[in-house]
């Protein structure tokens, strides 16, 4: 027993020494602090994969070390992960959680430490806090929800939209934006209901939704709940058109539904790598599939672009966190998904698109692109 304890102690000390050596090297250090377990693990894993693919393809002359920490689903774990990363070295930037609740908790610490957080979280409030160290590479709700609402009203002709959204900060942020934009467009919500991420049986909400006689269903839910809502709506005979949040563009969400259930389903997103025919995006998708044995989504691509912009800053001579922050705040970057430029608040992405499923394929088609929605470019 004593020998076992001694052996474990030696192994632990050895591992700690190896980790310290890795992080203390002179290379630029970029920790990846994302949720790879818990209810948002799907999106967090896409983020991780996108960041890793960018870091593994760092431009010549730029040497980067990175490590991945799971932030799970609680703000405390995310803050602890950032604390640890700061203790291990001086990061030039960090890939940070897609989960808005965690970002709101990490933001003050990042500001005190002077480390830019590169995120794809859509929570609108994140860039309204006046924190100069937040850089969001996925269009915020102020952009995607405009596309979401405008497509429902202007293209589908909706006059009586109904909304199901998540009780999380992500859900509440999207609900607030959608309610306001739809009212401005002359099509106010006739029904709305908040669902906890753990809600499994959506029929109660769908029964109330049907009673409100909407002409389109809007969803602002995470991946699993989005698929559950669409499936249960179709099974209950509710065959209204659906315009869902960005979770629905994810290939893994589409896989949960049959082609018939996907008929009439559209989704807002920043990008849809698997739908694109551009050579650079095709190459990105091919490498992603080979490396991670899964399909890339817009979150992976946005995080890939975000980390690539940090790498571009390093290549351009930025050699500490403050210089990287200044570079991100002042430069325009041509990413694979779109052109990124800060609007002065850290919102880097200003385009959105709508994809739709035709009921015959699990690969959606891009049906409408909305460029420079917030006029920041």
């Amino acid at each position: 027993m004593i020998r076992r304890v001694a052996l474990l102690t030696v192994l632990t000390v050895h591992l700690a020494a190896v980790t310290a050596t890795t992080v203390n090297a002179k290379d630029a250090y970029i920790p990846i602090l994302v949720p790879i377990t818990g209810f948002i693990a799907l999106e967090g894993t896409a983020q991780r994969n996108g960041a890793i693919q960018a870091l593994e393809n760092a431009p010549e002359g730029v040497t980067v070390t990175y490590e991945v920490s799971d932030t799970s689903t609680s703000p405390e774990v995310a803050v602890t992960a950032l604390h640890r990363a700061l203790e291990r070295g001086k990061p030039v930037a960090a890939a940070a959680s897609i989960f808005g609740t965690q970002m709101l908790a990490m933001a003050p610490l990042a500001q005190r430490a002077g480390v830019p957080l590169i995120t794809v979280s859509g929570t609108a409030k994140l860039t309204e806090l006046g924190n100069p160290y937040i850089f969001r590479f996925f269009p915020g709700d102020g952009v995607v929800k405009v596309a979401h609402a405008r497509y429902a009203v202007e293209v589908l002709g909706a006059k009586r939209p109904a909304l199901l959204y998540q009780t999380t900060s992500y859900g509440q942020s999207g609900q607030a934006q959608l309610a306001k934009i739809l009212k401005d467009l002359g099509a106010p919500l006739v029904f709305e209901e908040a669902l906890a991420p753990s809600a499994k049986d959506m029929l109660p909400a769908l029964a109330k939704l049907r009673a409100a006689k909407p002409d389109v269903i809007l969803l602002h839910l995470h991946s699993g709940p989005t698929a559950l809502a669409i499936r249960q709506a179709r099974e209950a005979g509710i065959n209204l058109p659906v315009v869902a949040g960005s979770a629905m563009h994810q290939p893994s969400t589409a896989k949960l539904l049959s082609q018939a259930q996907l008929s009439g389903v559209c989704a807002e997103s920043a990008a849809s790598p698997i739908s694109e025919s551009d050579a650079k995006l095709v190459a990105f998708t091919r490498e992603f599939r080979t490396r991670f044995h899964t399909e890339p989504d817009a979150f992976a691509l946005a995080q890939y672009d975000g980390i690539n912009m940090v790498l571009a800053a390093l290549k351009d001579g930025a050699n500490n966190a403050e210089q990287v922050r200044n570079w991100l705040a002042s430069h325009t970057f041509e990413g694979l998904a779109m052109t990124y430029k800060s609007d002065g608040k850290g919102n880097m992405a200003h385009d959105a698109l709508i994809v739709c499923y035709d009921g015959a394929s699990l690969v959606p088609t891009i049906v409408k692109r909305y460029h420079n929605v917030d006029g920041a470019l």
Partner: protein, 312 residues
């Protein structure tokens, strides 16, 4: 809204029936070892993934060897495959239960109950992270018990899967009740649960009985996992939700009471669905916890009092 009430009731009963299977396993372990099994929810999740895996292996075989039933539906070759997958899932999960007992309980058998429940928390975390590593974070769809789809009964649309879940859960709950009350094995399991030392004194192996109890509890959790995975998908992070519902069912039903746990689980399923339909999801959850507090205040021993009253 009125036309949806029968379907809502069916959904509530189906959800409650699945919760009942989870709660039964939970009570069996509490009775056998006197400690709460905090891995029960993650075992439900594991059951879902076992069912998904078995389906992936069996479906190609079914497509090649079973008659083409294309007139029934798009996944017609798999019609009824769930009836094979359910017992297979339970067998695999029963083996996992034996392993669970041997690795997480037996070494701590003579330690205070707190050691056992910490050990079950560890098992739950291992299962959750193991599922994440093996299957990935994305939700998966499990097999239907008989067939996907609905049928219309006048103006009402009923889900075949939900009705199948109610039927299967009813059979499993009744079977568990009969096993424990009518068979010699059941009498031995109950004897060990009531007084392991006295049971040992009359020649019953308490160790074996406890291992069998774990196997039965985990198999029931696995069956719930399989039954829920079709309608509600299965993801590595699902365990916590099921654990919470089982815990509430056991608390409301009465610690140690199998019938109480099953009854309370059904009540919770129907309550959740109907409250969500007529008030809101947020209020449904709040009212559920308020109800639990009320039961604890008015009737601390639960709706059905524990016969021996060891813990209440």
């Amino acid at each position: 809204m009125g036309a949806s009430i029968p379907q809502l009731l069916v959904n509530g009963v189906a959800l409650g029936a699945a919760y009942a299977l989870i709660a039964l396993g939970f009570v069996l372990v509490i009775n056998a070892v006197g400690a709460v099994n905090f891995a029960q929810g993650d075992l439900v999740m594991a059951g879902g993934f076992v069912a998904v895996t078995i389906t992936e292996y069996l479906t190609p075989w079914a497509n090649d060897n079973l008659p083409d039933l294309a007139f029934i539906g798009p996944r017609a070759s798999a019609v009824g495959l769930g009836l094979v997958i359910l017992p297979l899932t339970m067998v695999v999960m029963a083996v996992l239960g034996l392993l669970f007992s041997a690795l997480a309980y037996a070494p701590l058998r003579h330690r205070p109950p707190v050691s056992v429940f910490i050990s079950t928390i560890a098992v739950g975390l291992i299962l959750q992270h193991g599922a994440n590593a093996v299957f990935g974070p994305e939700p998966r769809v499990g097999p239907p018990l008989v067939v996907d789809g609905n049928f219309a009964l006048g103006p009402i649309t009923l889900s075949i899967q939900q009705l199948s879940v109610i039927f299967a859960a009813g059979c499993l709950i009744t079977g568990t009740g009969l096993l424990l009350s009518r068979s010699q094995l059941g009498r031995q399991l109950r004897a060990v649960a009531q007084d392991p030392e006295m049971a040992e004194a009359i020649g019953i192996s308490a160790g074996h009985c406890i291992a069998i109890t774990f196997a039965l509890a985990v198999a029931l959790a696995g069956s719930a996992g399989m039954l829920l995975s079709n309608q509600f998908f299965v993801a590595p992070s699902d365990g916590g939700l099921f654990m919470l519902k089982a815990y509430i069912a056991v608390t409301v039903g009465g610690w140690g009471r199998l019938d109480g746990a099953a009854f309370a689980a059904l009540l919770i399923g129907v309550f959740e669905v109907m409250m969500a339909a007529f008030v809101s999801y947020v209020m449904a959850e709040a009212l559920l916890y308020a109800g639990v507090l009320l039961v604890l205040l008015v009737r601390p021993s639960g709706l059905l009092r524990e016969t021996i009253q060891r813990r209440t």
